[in-house]
């Protein structure tokens, strides 16, 4: 049986043009296939183009060269079909809307409504993301972790088949991040979307992902792909397993070599 490919990238290159200054090549020749339902984490040194890559997949950055398809269509078409969910490090919640109104914003836009009604999917997600009781609170009244959970709930409200996350817990402390990783896995195991997560946290990458891609330093290329041999569902206890440690060590080594590979190219 052939596997369904959710995200396909061929020859992706992106250059940031700077008037009067040197152009910056962010990505140089990325080829990547992500299977439907797969959880892929992308790690790499700062400035290697991880966020640019995610932006290209989300259709919010037009790449200079190359082709991206989301379920066989260009990102713009995938956006039109509401197949993409997106989460940034900054939850970007609208301060004047309550948690429920923020989570329901994509539904409101999708259905062309002026106001939300009694949509069950919003309440289900709020419950799943442990925000029950805070529906009527405003973002300024929430903790950082709760805001991140609300942003993820908002990204999932249209049931996208591809969820793109750019360091969603990057601004939170380690303990909260560990807790949110577990909650994220619980909710995603029920929904099974294809997930691509950009992170600088190797432990997080190994804990949540099926596969970890290591990018080289700028300009970013895929240096190595590390399969994480941990079963699902995953619980906190796997972080003490030999397989977890082995994957973390392999990624650390890959990152070191990847950075050296980039320096070698520069020289």
């Amino acid at each position: 049986m052939t596997e369904t490919i959710a995200v396909q990238i061929r020859g992706l290159r992106h250059v940031y043009r700077n008037d009067g200054a040197q152009d910056v090549v962010a990505l140089a020749g990325i080829d990547l296939s992500v299977r439907a339902g797969e959880f892929v984490a992308i790690v790499g040194p700062s400035g290697c183009g991880k966020s640019t890559l995610l932006g290209c997949m989300a259709g919010v950055i037009d790449p200079s060269e190359g082709e991206i398809t989301i379920e066989g269509t260009p990102p713009s078409e995938a956006i039109r079909r509401r197949r993409i969910g997106l989460v940034f490090q900054d939850p970007c919640l609208l301060s004047w809307r309550t948690v429920r109104e923020n989570v329901g914003l994509p539904l409101e836009l999708n259905r062309g409504r002026r106001e939300l009604g009694e949509e069950k999917e919003i309440d289900d997600l709020i419950r799943s993301m442990l925000l029950k009781g805070f529906e009527r609170n405003y973002p300024s009244e929430l903790s950082g972790g709760m805001r991140s959970r609300a942003a993820i709930a908002r990204a999932l409200v249209l049931s996208p088949s591809v969820l793109l996350m750019d360091e969603p817990f990057g601004a939170l402390d380690e303990l909260t991040t560990e807790m949110l990783n577990q909650e994220l896995l619980s909710i995603l195991e029920k929904r099974r979307p294809t997930v691509i997560l950009v992170t600088h946290n190797i432990s997080q990458a190994v804990f949540v992902a099926d596969r970890v891609l290591i990018l080289t330093g700028r300009p970013g290329r895929v240096f190595q792909s590390v399969e994480v041999g941990l079963g699902r569902p995953r619980r906190e206890t796997v972080t003490a397993s030999h397989e977890f440690m082995k994957s973390v060590a392999a990624i650390q080594e890959g990152l070191r070599q990847g950075s050296g590979f980039a320096r070698g190219r520069e020289e």
Partner: protein, 256 residues
């Protein structure tokens, strides 16, 4: 969250400025009394206070006229400034084309513009309202334009991924984000509107605080002149505080 009682708000927000004003007035009174400064040069706060009480009806009538002129100008400036600010926010090329001239008009001293407005619109209230509107217009354009452009790259990217149309991005993101910026523009403009109205009254009027100050100057009635200045400052402060109060009570989380 429950709102704090009025007495507590007054204690927290008004007590310090009031104490500061009291100290300043005390020093002023002491300096004038000690050095026996003539009243026509620099009247004492007590003398000005007496003037404010004895001429209260006169000052109230003229003060009300000026505040209404300022308020009228402010309303016009907010509406027209918001429209042009929106156009600027939507079209960078139009902003680049028009903005230098808008800045140039701001550099023209209002004392030079006021006689022209009297000439064109007559000595009635309309020339004063237009003067107040003109002086507030530019801050409103800038604050609106800045507010509508305030949403960050990531917020705009999210709206795009959610499938929002340009109109929805404007209505559900840009416009609500701009509210706190517009509010700041209105607070700045409140004081400016009073200046615009008073300067226009200077150029030619038969009522208003500008007229009172002018008449007092001709008669060398310095206590009345100061009383007029005090009422103008108080009017500007009241306009400012009304805008702050409306912003705090009506706009709620739009200010966050």
């Amino acid at each position: 969250m429950s709102k704090p009682p009025v007495a507590q708000v007054v204690k927290e927000k008004a007590l310090l400025p009031l104490c500061f004003a009291l100290v300043l007035l005390l020093i002023w009174q002491l300096v004038v009394s000690t050095f026996r400064v003539p009243e026509y040069l620099f009247p004492s706060p007590l003398r000005i206070g007496r003037e404010l009480i004895t001429d209260r009806a006169y000052l109230l009538i003229h003060g009300t006229v000026t505040i209404l002129e300022a308020l009228g100008g402010l309303v016009i400036a907010v509406a027209s400034g918001f429209l042009l600010g929106t156009v600027f926010a939507m079209s960078s090329s139009l902003e680049r084309m028009v903005l230098p001239y808008a800045v140039a008009t701001q550099s023209v001293p209002i004392v030079a513009t006021a006689p022209l407005l009297i000439l064109w619109l007559g000595p009635g209230i309309s020339s004063k309202i237009v003067m107040a509107a003109l002086i507030c217009f530019f801050p409103m354009v800038v604050s609106t334009s800045r507010g509508l452009r305030a949403p960050g790259r990531e917020q705009l990217a999210l709206m795009r991924v959610f499938g929002a149309t340009s109109w929805e991005v404007f209505w559900k993101l840009r416009l609500p984000t701009s509210i706190k910026y517009v509010l700041v523009g209105m607070q700045t403009s409140a004081a400016l509107a009073m200046i615009g109205a008073v300067v226009a009254e200077y150029a030619g009027a038969d009522r208003g605080l500008g007229y009172v100050i002018m008449q007092a100057t001709y008669r060398l009635d310095t206590p009345l002149l100061f009383a007029g200045i005090f009422v103008a400052a108080f009017g500007g402060l009241v306009l400012f505080l009304v805008i702050v109060f409306v912003g705090q009570t009506a706009l709620g989380h739009y200010r966050d």
